[in-house]
Symmetry: C2
Subunit: 517 residues, 2 copies
């Protein structure tokens, strides 16, 4: 095989693999890069990274970037705009940021505007409470351009602790809170801490947010999948947890942690108190650390399914559960804030060994500190304007408008999916996604096979090419063998939402007509 042939073969394998991750174009030089003449090549890079898959930014997302570029360069496509429903990225879909938050962020960047002699001019743009908050933050921070404490600015951690204790009715301790560059960074860091060797297992839901499988792959650990029951609104039973654990024990895996995503991603379900208590009992009985991904805690759409934090439920269970090991993650990227690009979040350690906390501090310190603007947004999230503050009314209105609009869009999209031939969709109790099941005709499944794709990936690719709507196939999240799903956010802007739903309906009808058995 010549070098060129070798390259082409590998390239084809990559492009046709189930979750191929391609960035195009990496303009290669005139020389063909092959295994033989490079020190580092595909076959001798870190094998754990090679194994990792991250569908949310995989083939579909990369193809959507190509289409976006083509549109920008004047290409004629069947659509005018690429709509990125593959990822919960509200501000990329025109969601307006919370004004007060951005005012404070703007002021701390340029403290000249906070000077007394500029007060009149600054008042043209900034309300009094934004100016006061910016001054207060700078008093504690110094400059947003300086490295902070590696664990996060102590003053902001104190505010996070206050927020948690007010939310839950139980105390929280700033010294056990770590600010992070988004919840993902927190999950990666804590999993890295927990994975002692390649026989450690971590229980994860199926379907799951692929951060977990990707991170476990990189860390060379074992995902221990437990299945959510689609027929019961993506319900979670301790019987299923036990089955999954038993199976891992049979394989000799040392299962040490359990990931719960609540509200669920991609599945949108919200756990009941009773269910949460059972999960905590299960963990205690089996000596398993609970990792609670609660980034969607304010994206709650059903009155009968309010959000409860695991911290609160745990604390309500009394002294028998003292010392229970729980890590809870939160983020500024979701909720009504949606400040994804800023990379901010935190995790709280409950019941963790003090020496383990020291190790977490040390590993955090190697990366110096989370970015300070992200930390500031955490402060604003946990301590927004209060009733009576000059910015309160506007804050409340902006927050509620986004909330009610999301709730409405979730409902409209659910109805749309349930109206499609062969498609059923559970409602979203929470989060930003729907995860409908799609039953494709045999002909479509055969066409997918011929193209070397999973059927749901094939369907999503066809949708993207036809409508510009980018979703993620269920195969990227994990699903019961033989079923097909896709995940879509309901974030497209309200004024385009009918058009968005209409284009899905039209696409689906023509797809089904083309492939109907």
């Amino acid at each position: 095989m010549t070098s060129l042939q070798y390259s082409k073969t590998i390239f084809r394998q990559l492009t046709t693999s189930r979750h191929s991750i391609l960035i195009k174009p990496f303009s290669t030089s005139s020389r063909i890069m092959t295994r033989s003449d490079k020190i580092l090549h595909l076959n001798n890079t870190n094998p754990q990274i090679r194994k990792a898959e991250y569908a949310v930014r995989g083939e579909l997302a990369i193809r959507s970037e190509v289409l976006k570029n083509e549109l920008a360069n004047g290409a004629k496509l069947p659509f005018n705009r690429v709509v990125g429903c593959n990822i919960g990225n509200p501000q990329a879909l025109d969601q307006k940021p919370i004004t007060f938050f951005r005012q404070v962020a703007s002021l701390v960047e340029y403290p000249e505007m906070l000077k007394d002699e500029n007060a009149e001019a600054a008042a043209r743009f900034f309300p009094k409470d934004a100016i006061e908050r910016a001054k207060l933050l700078l008093k504690h921070i110094g400059s947003v351009g300086a490295y902070s404490h590696s664990q996060g600015i102590p003053y902001i951690r104190e505010n996070v602790a206050k927020f948690i204790s007010e939310r839950d009715g139980y105390p929280a301790d700033a010294s056990k809170i770590f600010l992070t560059q988004g919840a993902s960074a927190g999950v990666q860091l804590t999993l890295e801490m927990i994975i002692e060797h390649n026989n450690v297992g971590v229980m994860i839901p199926i379907p799951q947010y692929p951060l977990y499988t990707a991170t476990l792959a990189v860390l060379d650990a074992n995902p221990v999948p437990y299945y959510l029951d689609e027929s019961k609104g993506w319900g979670l039973t301790t019987e299923e947890l036990q089955r999954a654990l038993d199976e891992s024990i049979k394989k000799g895996i040392e299962t040490r942690a359990l990931v719960i995503i609540n509200p669920g991603n991609p599945t949108g379900q919200c756990l009941t108190e009773q269910n949460m208590r059972e999960i905590i009992e299960f963990c205690r009985k089996n000596k398993i650390i609970l990792l609670a991904d609660e980034v969607y805690q304010t994206n709650i759409y059903q009155k009968d399914r309010p959000f409860h934090s695991f911290k609160k439920i745990l604390k309500s269970m009394g002294p028998d559960y003292e010392g229970f090991e729980l890590i809870s993650y939160h983020s500024i990227s979701k909720g009504m804030i949606g400040e994804c690009g800023r990379r901010g979040g935190y995790f709280e350690c409950e019941g963790m060994d003090a020496f383990v906390l020291e190790q977490i501090y040390k590993i955090s310190s190697i990366s110096l500190c989370p970015n300070v603007q992200g930390q500031i947004m955490v402060d604003l999230m946990v301590n927004p304007p209060k009733k009576g503050d000059p910015s309160y009314e506007q804050y409340k209105k902006e927050y509620d408008d986004i909330y009610f609009s999301l709730k409405k869009r979730a409902q409209i999209l659910e109805n749309t999916f349930n109206s499609l031939e062969g498609c059923t969709c559970n409602p979203a109790d929470g989060a930003m996604y729907l995860f409908p099941q799609i039953r494709l005709p045999k002909k479509a499944i055969e066409a997918a096979k011929a193209a070397g794709k999973e059927p749901d990936q094939f369907y999503c690719l066809a949708m993207l090419e036809s409508t510009g709507v980018c979703m993620v196939a269920g195969s990227g999240f994990g699903q019961v063998e033989g079923t097909g799903h896709f995940r879509s956010t309901f974030l497209p802007p309200p004024e385009l939402f009918d058009e968005f739903c209409g284009s899905i309906k039209n696409f689906h009808a023509s797809f089904m007509n083309k492939y109907r058995d």
Copy 2:
């Protein structure tokens, strides 16, 4: 041994170990956390993390935080301010940010100020070119609150490519540039990529910036130390590289990459062109990837030692070196910018296999994207105001003032160190640090031993307690066995610099008097 005894023993081992990393206080609950009753405890966490050491934020830095808190709470100490010279954190030591950069950062946070109807009011704070730049950036970014492309915003990567090609006189390719959350994140990511198994070696300078040893420890790889020659201004010879490589081969280590920090950290030396060519030849001959940490490329203080990028030298070496694998790192944290808290930087891949780039993209995508404000600062760094722009004069003045002041402070501190009994210090060609050698009296060495400390650590701790000046002992960077050093930034503000140098002199004299043999 009881639980409590066990805890205390471990605690003492930790606090007295050479590079103990302590965060105090982690307020533990009433229960004593021990190995026996926790799922995760010190002895079953990730052993690679346990092994990692990061002195820059280690015992000295942590103790300095405690002292800072004590001062804030009104404690009477022998000093009024803790001066953090342990880390290159200019804005924490009152360095003013570049006004234009902050104006743009402020405007993109709150685009309301960019609206036409607000032009007059905005002009009170913002010059025309800042407003134009903010508009241009937002046109390409959308919102700083939205996730960007995982590799970094394409428009900004194009500007980085332009900057590199103008700096070097050779083309650069935006598709091979990755924006990162600081250079550290880039180093971590690329090393993670390169480390295939625990037999891979990476050559690192001694003394080195401990990011490298810490990251290699976490990745379970082998540092292959080569020594810089202090007697020749921290010079680097290929003979020493060859010696280090030969030794690694003897041990059966597969050495795959070579880290060069230029200008040096902690050592401040700046490589000559001839030396750089020899290093490139060495790498080519031995099939080693060159990793060039060039974050101090604008911190250059000696006319006869200008900065050259490895990319430029490589490209000047002609077609024989085509396809040579080089990764170069840069950052917004250093230079005259000093925007450390923002976490921004980039790395450029030269000659890397396209499939490896795909893997780098994939691993980047799992963390979603570098924070957008950090990316914006990269744009400003590589594309500052030009002659004729409204902000140019101010930018030039601010930049030059910082530059000349740093150069002057480097000289003053070098003179101070060279005036100390038993202390010799090479000048800084570049970077932000001096790394003097200190010869301590036998009595001091014995006192250090009795305290369970390395002698230079003991000296630095004494200095901290006496003056509030926090430096880092040479043992944290690596040094020739039996020698002692410390690293100090020369960043304390100009108006306090004489006092700062005076307090070091006074401390040193009394320390030597106390321990003189």
